[in-house]
Amino acid sequence: MAASTVIELREVKRHYVMGPTVVRAVDGVSLDIAAGEFVSIIGPSGSGKSSLMNIIGCLDTPTEGSYVINGEPVQGLSRGRLAEIRNREIGFVFQSFNLLPRLSALENVELPLVYAGLPARERRERAAAMLAKVGLEGREAHLPAELSGGQRQRVAIARALAGRPSVLLADEPTGALDQKTGVEIMAMFAELNAEGSTIVIVTHDLAIARQAARAVRVLDGRVVSDGPGKEVA
């Protein structure tokens, strides 16, 4: 069913010209991710997984090949249009949380809704509901510095969910957390996936990748294996 395909990469290449050499960071990746999937993209550093993630996240566009997100092709779009697509389709979760330090938890969660142009009252209501969903009811007014690492990442997840994106795109989401908190965060992703969210986690950590239903292994800019998460090695 084509309609349920959220991410559709066809022979995607991303080459960087660095002086006389051409770096083939992504070198012909074709990948389909359907709505409701829980996918991990795994690879060592330098494998091209970050470049692939930037393309999936519409922070970058392919040099060659086609990328269609939720039915919309992204080739040749302006920076402004890409920003709109990021706002609507992608919920980012970063390794280092990337909360704005001067904004309260609630205001951080509101941010994507500000850029979506929602009125203030609706924004606040939706952001508060998202914070409640990640178990941070009552912490709305806290600044990021007043929260623990796990709580900060949960604020970030609430922020990623606030715009009701097609895909939750997480880049090493447990990389800055201790083991126990990492487990909690992964449990939260599993729970969100069970509720229907499409989740893509980019990681170099096999233990994390195995928790996804499907694992895509990337090496030298190509997909080298694509199968159930438990079987990845």
């Binding site: 922070l59 920003a83 709109e84 706002n87 980012f92 990337n98 941010l111 850029y115 922020r159």
Partner: protein
């Protein structure tokens, strides 16, 4: 760019300014001083211009003066007229009075004389004129009555003393009215003391009937000058040329190049004075505007620092859906709020300073609404212009690079 976006960026900008209150204030200081200087300095320039205008108007309204001799300087009222050899006759005066557009005309001749009352002496300027002189020259008496037309016709030996001359001769304790003073030895009865005009030269004059002046002080029959009041300021130049042609005809002269008289009118003198004061105001305003620009450079500098410091924030905002335009607007708004609030505070400071100049510095200062508008407008434009480049740089950041920035 919607109203919504502007409101959101204003909210963001205010938050960032509040978060950096000390630095923000220092940043606005440049614009504050520039705007304040613009308002205060142009107020001084304006005040000077108004003071010149005021002093010129105090000479009389719609005034022109026909002088004997050749033009000397640009002043309307010549400081020293005692050395002019008179060329204007009583017939000339009557002809001027008969011209259309002339309200009044009064003759004037003067000489430096020794004034004496009992044992006191003073050097004064004796001015021979008639009863219309105080009306034309806006002079009022402090006590007594100025001499009358009848006094002029009968050559009465009476005098109206300028306030300084009266004070020098009589001191504070003696009432000059009815006393007899001697001017170059000739006895005159004091009939009036004039109100001070705030000008020592004028206040040191002693007015006597022109008929008596010619008879006992200067000799001769002609006048050094004629003061003329026109119907209106606008009619001054036209009246000047009709007086010129009338006097040329009476004196049998071909053109003003050969004339033995010249005419100065209030309008032209006022114009020249205002031109000078205007240039002065422009100069001061220009200096102030430069400091406003320097303030703008300060804002640009701090905004560039701010963009660099907040690179990661910009990356996060972009990842979450901020378009380049949103980022541009956010930083531009911040710069404009900084410069505009600096401008507003500066205007307040400038108005305060102008008031203080007037109150404590004894300077004439008049804040013009134009300079306030200019200072506010200029600081706004400064913010837009100098905030533009840093904001543009912020909007051009690559989100991937920005997110990686430590």
């Amino acid at each position: 760019m919607s109203l919504f976006a502007v409101r959101e960026s204003a909210a963001m900008a205010l938050r960032s300014i509040k978060g950096n209150a000390g630095r923000s204030f220092l940043t606005t200081l440049g614009v504050l001083i520039g705007a304040g200087a613009l308002v205060a300095l142009t107020a001084l320039g304006n005040g000077a211009s108004l003071a010149v205008e005021e002093s010129l108007r105090s000479l009389g309204s719609n005034l022109l003066i026909a002088y004997s001799g050749q033009p000397r300087g640009t002043a309307l009222v010549r400081r020293n007229t005692s050395n002019i050899s008179p060329t204007i006759s009583a017939a000339d005066l009557e002809a001027i009075r008969a011209l259309p557009g002339v309200v009044m005309a009064a003759p004037e001749s003067s000489a430096n004389v020794q004034a004496k009352f009992e044992s006191r002496n003073a050097s004064v300027s004796a001015v021979g004129t008639d009863h219309q002189y105080p009306l034309i020259r806006n002079a009022a008496t402090a006590s007594g009555e100025f001499f009358t037309e009848a006094d002029v016709e009968t050559r009465r030996m009476v005098a109206a003393l300028g306030s300084k001359a009266a004070a020098d001769l009589f001191g504070p304790d003696v009432d000059p009215l009815g006393q007899r003073v001697r001017l170059n030895g000739q006895p005159f009865t004091v009939v009036a003391v004039m109100r001070s005009k705030g000008n020592d030269t004028t206040d040191n004059q002693v007015y006597v009937p022109i008929s008596a002046f010619l008879r006992v002080i200067s000799g001769g029959t002609k006048y050094q000058a004629v003061n003329v009041q026109a119907e209106s300021m606008e009619a001054l130049r036209e009246l000047q040329s009709s007086i010129e042609s009338e006097l040329l005809r009476l004196h049998g002269l071909p053109s003003m190049d050969a004339a033995d008289f010249y005419i100065a009118n209030q309008l032209d003198v006022l114009g020249a004075a205002q031109g000078t004061a205007g240039a002065f105001t422009l100069l001061l305003g220009g200096i102030a505007a430069i400091s406003l620009v320097v303030g703008g450079i300060g804002i640009m500098n701090i905004m560039l620092v701010s963009v660099t410091e907040r690179t990661r924030e910009i990356g996060v905002r972009m990842a979450l859906g901020a378009k380049p335009g949103d980022v541009l607007l956010q930083f531009l708004t911040e710069a404009v709020i900084l410069s505009a609030s600096g401008g507003a505070l500066g205007v307040a400071a400038g108005v305060g300073a102008a008031w203080a100049f007037g109150r404590f510095g004894g300077m004439a200062a008049a804040v013009s609404p134009g300079s306030v508008a200019l200072a506010l407008g200029f600081s706004l434009v400064t913010g837009l212009f100098f905030g533009g480049y840093p904001a543009f740089r912020a909007s051009r950041l690559d989100p991937i690079e920005a997110l990686r920035y430590e």
